[in-house]
């Protein structure tokens, strides 16, 4: 079986054309990135605002937990069946599916942005105010950079959720790598189904690693402490370089 999967994956014919691996991969990335982008444009400003002002804290804290309980497959099928008949052509499934992807990506990004600002060291905030910064400046120059690690973990969690749900969305007719899984299951083409699963898993892993690298690039070294390789003395944490402590926060 492993040989048949390998043969399917390495067959050049499966990589070309509008329904080839390359095209499906680009579709999958396209759906996922646009959904995460729209979600981030909504959730990051909102999260920063809530974290900065404290208005609506209750909403964010409960939203993240409640969103986790909603089954994405059910939400997706419900949206397509309910909204689909109101539109014609491909929009009938593209719009509801896209909407669900955005809705699912918002809670993790929102709670990341909120928790990031909320968790900023009050001393740093006071120091900024003491230096004469106004509310907006504190947000822009202190809270936002300090919140970046958690904003990025929110984006990473949201992206993983979207990539997984975009796979499932092949059921309602969406393209992307999910097609190989859903079509393969339907016609019992095992090599195709398994290959699709491997490709989806690889895509998720790669995207997460790329985002991890972006995080490394944009988060200030003053926060991660990556530039000082001095061994810190902390009897509780023992002797470690501080890099993993960042992930610890999430």
């Amino acid at each position: 079986m492993i040989n048949r999967i390998f043969a399917w994956l390495t067959d050049g014919a499966h990589w070309q054309g509008y329904d080839g691996i390359a095209a499906r991969l680009i579709e999958h990335l396209g759906y996922s990135l646009s959904a995460v982008l729209v979600a981030a444009l909504i959730a990051i400003p909102l999260g920063l605002y809530i974290g900065h002002t404290g208005h609506g804290r209750f909403l964010v804290v409960n939203l993240a937990g409640a969103a986790r309980a909603i089954p994405s497959l059910g939400l997706l099928l419900l949206a397509v069946l309910w909204l689909g008949p109101r539109f014609n052509g491909d929009i009938a499934f593209l719009l509801p599916a896209g909407l669900v992807l955005v809705v699912l990506a918002i809670p993790p990004i929102l709670s990341g942005a909120y928790a990031g600002v909320e968790g900023v060291d009050p001393d740093a905030r006071d120091a900024a105010k003491g230096m004469g910064m106004g509310g907006r400046q504190v947000l822009r120059h202190v809270e936002l950079p300090c919140a970046l690690p958690l904003i990025m973990s929110g984006i990473r969690a949201g992206t993983m959720q979207v990539i997984a749900t975009a796979t499932i969305a092949a059921v309602v007719g969406l393209g992307g790598l999910g097609r190989f899984l859903i079509d393969g299951l339907a016609v019992r083409d095992t090599p195709q189904t398994a290959s699709g699963a491997i490709l989806v898993a690889l895509l998720a892993l790669t995207v997460d690693m790329v985002l991890a690298m972006v995080q490394r690039l944009i988060v200030s070294r003053g926060l991660t402490g990556r530039y000082k390789r001095v061994k810190t003395f902390d009897p509780d944490a023992g002797v470690t370089s501080p890099a993993p402590a960042l992930e610890h926060v999430a």
Partner: protein
């Protein structure tokens, strides 16, 4: 709402299967994550390896994992054991860090006092560190429980029956009611799991209740 009335028996059966498919991995996952989290806490070099390794497992989309497991394990694709194992993997991935952080939240003075009182390593772990880590571990377990209930429903796509089957049945027949009932049942089940863990945590941490009501 006649559909709901006619199918209460079916829905109950699917709910029981859903509880089984989401609940068993939670218990298995906890028992696997406890020693791993302890290792991550005890050996500093292992912490990043275990956290990154389990984090990578967690990024694999559920449908892909459900489909890949039969090939890796040699099981049949319709066998519910694939879903159990996949959900156990996700639970372990979430809980290893929680257990490590929970054990890390135990004050060092408490551990030293226990050692000074003659507690050996295993007994200290079982009767001092683990009970004190319960609040943190329980918070992680609640997240795992709620997301397990939600993720299990995806298994309807590979033909493993549970509440998610209501989604696919409803969609195939262009019928909203089963999907709505399915979504509500899933959310209620998640709340039930959450409440159960919360209740067990309260029972396991009497000192926290004493702190809440100092009467």
């Amino acid at each position: 709402m006649t559909w709901l009335g006619d199918h209460l028996g079916d829905i109950l059966g699917l709910t029981v299967r859903h509880i089984y498919l989401a609940g068993v991995p939670l218990i298995l996952g906890l028992f696997i994550a406890l020693p791993l989290g302890w290792l991550a806490r005890r050996h500093k070099g292992l912490y990043p390896i275990l956290i990154i390794g389990t984090g990578l497992l967690y990024t694999i989309p559920s449908l892909a994992l459900f489909i890949m497991l039969p090939f890796l394990l040699g099981t049949k694709i319709l066998d519910p054991i694939n879903v159990i194992i996949a959900m156990t993997i996700y639970t372990v991935a979430l809980l290893v860090r929680t257990v490590a952080d929970g054990l890390g939240s135990v004050p060092e003075e408490v551990n030293q006092s226990a050692t000074a009182m003659g507690y050996k390593r295993v007994r200290r772990f079982m009767s001092v560190e683990l009970p004190l880590a319960v609040p943190v571990i329980s918070a992680g377990l609640r997240v795992a429980a709620v997301s397990n209930v939600s993720i299990v429903s995806v298994a309807a796509l590979i033909g493993v029956e549970q509440l998610g089957s209501l989604f696919t049945d409803g969609f195939d027949r262009a019928f909203l009611e089963p999907i709505i009932v399915g979504v509500i049942s899933c959310v209620l089940l998640a709340l039930l799991f959450d409440g159960a863990i919360l209740g067990l945590t309260r029972l396991a941490t009497p000192w926290q209740r004493a702190r809440e009501s100092p009467s």
